[in-house]
């Protein structure tokens, strides 16, 4: 029996409605392309709302020494020079315009005294650079894009999951999706597809990511023949909540440290001063006093070590906890209340004003008043630097007509992403993906859909209903999360990675036997079952790449190879699906950087 489906035709199909997806859709539709957007959640609920700190753009409103060059150099240094330099360049140059554009669409950023957009300090950024709205910048951004987009005639499909990309020969032809609510299939025929599906955090047990982050876009692209790059680089955000257990992993914004928050171990020692990496020594304060002066805007002071890059801070915290110097619930202390010593009674109001949602989050979920008590925090999986390999200018992948932007795309962040570079990434490359997807769509004719492909994919999606008494999808997902957390976590070794590969293979076998009950209407069991495949695919890609990179760099730390190896700094690792269906790994040399950019990096050292 043939599976029925509803069919829609469009020119550009955007998968995902976070910052990148919405920005891409707005641009594509403004360029005249008939644009549809599918999203797993309701409109405006995407993971972008969780972004707290701000978006990095060298507006130079707070410190006029800032410029795109400094931002570019900061991004490259943070990424340990594995970034696609052209993307870092485009990003640094275009981010200010994207921020201003958001304001013209109604976003209201916090202001400087002279009425311009205020910028705050963040890890790895030399100058205060993050345009922000308290600690809910992501919400402001997504709401602005959403409200702007709904008046543009974009066709939004809420609670619709993309299950398979469809192709016409080598080029992209659309996607098979299912509506979560009714369980019906929807086929989009599209000349161009933009992936904007975000990350993979749900492959881990402790993560700041929402359920949506199951690596859908990574897996869709991989199976469609695109390459995944830099998959070994998973960012552990240094500060996630650790208590109570049910909120373990929920993000505590870096903005807390940007506003002067300090990290201490059980003994009250400010351990971040103990270990400052060589390449940041010139930019880091030597004592707490200088650090505080930096926080309050002294241009001659250097930043406190709490504002080093996330990979480093996360490892330092991990070290303290492993050494038994952690807090009672297995974290360390993050203290913002101490600024009372400097600001007196005004400190409480200041904290509540600059970090309102952190205040409520701790008050409501942990019963802690962060204006008087320290928080307990520990590393949490937050972001994947790796993703679909794209052309730096157009964001098109190796598959003609398939674009990717935002977290699902690789290249901008290299081995480690700087906080605040994600929101600007979404806007800069979301816009480019939309623009070039529309351009591409204009240049090609309508693709032809292969009915057999559609029927095969639909049958695959429904297979869990056909089985009885098979594996519980929730339990399998949980097992995978435990495995990745324990074996492919913040510190990795060859032996554990090998065990992880075996474990993933076994889970993949069992996943073939997953069964679900009930019917197709809003059935989370079924949805969880279908999320297993992408999760397994990205887990395998992460593990294989991590095995191959026998050094420590950025978000990837190997206990058996604890140092950076220059030889590994010359290439990115790329994963592709081979003709026989196995996962293949190759080393792709970095493109040589033009001399003017090399010079900028030298000047900013």
């Amino acid at each position: 029996m043939a599976h029925g489906y509803e069919r829609h035709d469009c020119e550009v199909l955007v998968i995902g409605a976070g910052g990148a997806g919405l920005r891409a859709a707005i641009e594509a539709s403004a360029a005249g392309a008939r644009t549809a957007v599918v999203m797993k959640s309701l409109l405006g609920k995407a993971h972008t709302v969780m972004a707290e700190g701000g978006m990095a753009a060298a507006l130079a409103h707070v410190d006029d020494r800032d410029s795109w060059k400094v931002h570019f150099a900061d991004t490259m240094r943070g990424g340990q020079y594995l970034n696609q330099w052209r993307m870092a360049e485009i990003h640094a140059k275009e981010a200010p315009e994207r921020v201003r554009e958001l304001e013209a669409w109604g976003a209201l950023f916090d202001r400087t005294a002279d009425g311009r957009i205020l910028q705050r300090n963040f890890g790895g950024h030399r100058y205060p650079r993050l345009a922000h709205v308290g600690d809910r910048t992501g919400l402001e951004m997504i709401r602005t894009l959403q409200d702007h987009g709904v008046h543009q005639g974009i066709d939004f499909h809420m609670e619709t999951t993309a299950f398979r990309l469809l192709k016409d020969g080598e080029r992209i032809a659309g996607a098979l999706c299912y509506e979560r609510e009714r369980g019906r299939f929807v086929v989009f025929r599209a000349r161009a597809v933009v992936l904007a599906t975000g990350g993979i955090g749900r492959a881990y047990r402790i993560t700041s990511n929402s359920w949506e982050y199951t690596g859908d876009g990574h897996a869709l692209a991989y199976h469609a023949g695109a390459s995944l790059m830099d998959m070994e680089f998973v960012q552990f955000h240094p500060t996630g909540m650790v208590w109570p257990p049910s909120v373990r992993g929920v993000l505590v914004t870096e903005g807390v440290r940007g506003e002067g928050g300090v990290l201490r171990n059980r003994d009250g020692h400010r351990f971040m001063f103990d270990d400052i990496p060589e390449n940041y020594r010139n930019q880091t304060a030597t004592d707490p006093d200088e650090g505080w002066r930096y926080v309050i805007g002294d241009k001659n002071a250097r930043r406190p070590p709490e504002l080093l890059t996330r990979d480093h801070v996360a490892r330092c915290i991990n070290r303290e906890i492993k050494a038994g110097r952690g807090s009672p619930h297995g974290g360390v202390y993050l203290d913002i209340a101490w600024i009372r010593e400097k600001l007196g009674d005004a400190a409480r109001e200041h904290i509540r004003r600059k970090l309102p949602s952190m205040y409520h989050q701790f008050k409501q979920l942990a019963g802690i008043d962060i204006t008087v008590e320290p928080m307990e925090v520990g590393p949490t999986v937050h972001y994947i630097m790796g993703g679909v390999r794209v052309d730096p200018e157009t964001q098109m992948s190796d598959v003609p007509g398939l674009f990717a932007a935002g977290e699902v795309a690789a290249g901008l962040h290299g081995a480690n992403r700087l906080g605040g570079n994600s929101l600007s990434d979404l806007l800069v490359f979301g816009r480019r993906a939309g623009l070039y997807a529309a351009q591409y769509a204009r240049s090609v004719s309508d693709p032809t859909l292969d009915e057999d492909d559609i029927q095969r994919a639909a049958a695959e999606a429904l297979a869990p209903f056909e089985r009885d008494g098979g594996e519980n999808p929730y339990a399998l997902q949980r097992e995978l999360q435990d495995l990745m957390q324990d074996l492919v976590g913040i510190v990795r070794t060859e032996a554990e990675l090998l065990r992880a590969l075996e474990g993933i293979a076994r889970l993949r076998e069992r996943a073939r036997n997953v069964s679900v009950g009930g019917n197709r209407e809003y059935n989370p069991g079924w949805h969880t079952a279908l999320d297993l495949e992408p999760l397994l695919t990205v887990s395998e890609a992460i593990t294989r790449a991590a095995l191959e990179r026998k050094e420590s760099r950025g978000g990837h730390f190997r206990d058996d190879y604890p140092n950076k190896d220059p030889q590994y700094g010359a290439f990115n690792l790329v994963v592709r699906k081979a003709a026989d269906g196995t996962m293949q790994l190759e080393r792709r040399p970095l493109a040589p950087m033009p001399e003017e950019l090399t010079r900028i990096i030298e000047e900013q050292k």
Binding site: P244, P245, S246, E521
Partner: protein, 252 residues
């Protein structure tokens, strides 16, 4: 590490679809600090795999997991179990003001349709040569409060104009008064929505019960800061003869 005491609770969860439904009791052992959404997930993972619940961030930032817990509209992810009465079953049911999809999931699309009708942001010409604007924090503050809204629609759900009187066709509800207020009070906006608010949006149906403010998980003072100021602006325009005379004589 301290021990995490577990507690046995009964969750009385609404199960059903458009046609039929009932409360079903589930017993679950919950850890310290768990929220209602955790308990619902526990039930889902171990007892009722097809229990439909909408959620996303689990940190009170996306506004997906709206439901009614012990009769009060709340975000399940921000409702701690240890703050609910210990010895009674915890009732969890879907929002009452919207059509049911299944179990705890309701169809909230009406809200998205309403938003589309509200006139979009239209900024004045840029102030500065670089094409940007200058705004004081103080003026921005007022609107930023409204922009904290996470669109959980709990205010829409609790508002009796929608919940009990089904005025969905004539009344846009607290969420969209907050939205309209954010636009109307935006320092840059030049659009005029007062006539819409009076007629099409039915601001007069609001009888200031403040239930929206009570349930707002973002602590937005919906009634006092958004709806009443809009009512006052509408009164300026339509109900105040002196204002009207002044406007005729001196312009706005």
């Amino acid at each position: 590490m301290t021990a995490h005491p577990t507690r046995r609770v009964t969750l009385r969860i609404w199960r059903g679809d458009r046609n039929d439904g009932r409360f079903v009791d589930y017993v679950a052992d919950v850890d310290e600090g768990m929220v209602v959404l955790d308990a619902v997930h526990l039930v889902q993972a171990t007892q009722a795999p097809d229990l439909a619940v909408r959620w996303n961030c689990k940190a009170g930032k996306c506004g997906s997991c709206s439901a009614e817990v012990n009769g009060m509209p709340r975000l399940m992810c921000m409702t701690r179990i240890d703050q609910l009465p210990a010895d009674e079953p915890i009732t969890v049911e879907p929002m009452a003001a919207f059509p049911l999809v299944r179990d705890l999931v309701t169809d909230v699309r009406w809200n998205y349709e309403v938003k589309k009708k509200i006139r979009p942001f239209r900024p004045r010409k840029p102030d500065a040569a670089d094409g940007t604007w200058r705004m004081d924090q103080e003026d921005v503050d007022r609107v930023q409060e409204f922009r904290k809204c996470i669109e959980c629609f709990l205010c829409q759900n609790v508002c009796h104009v929608l919940r009990d009187h089904d005025k969905h066709a004539e009344f846009i509800g607290p969420r969209f008064f907050v939205y309209a207020a954010a636009l109307e009070m935006h320092p840059l906006d030049t659009e005029d929505r007062l006539a819409d608010l009076r007629h099409r949006d039915g601001i007069g149906y609001c009888n200031i019960t403040k239930c929206c403010t009570v349930v707002c998980p973002e602590h937005i003072t919906i009634t006092d800061n958004a709806i009443i100021p809009l009512k006052e602006r509408v009164a300026d325009r339509f109900y105040d003869p002196i204002r009207r005379a002044l406007r005729v004589l001196f312009g706005d």
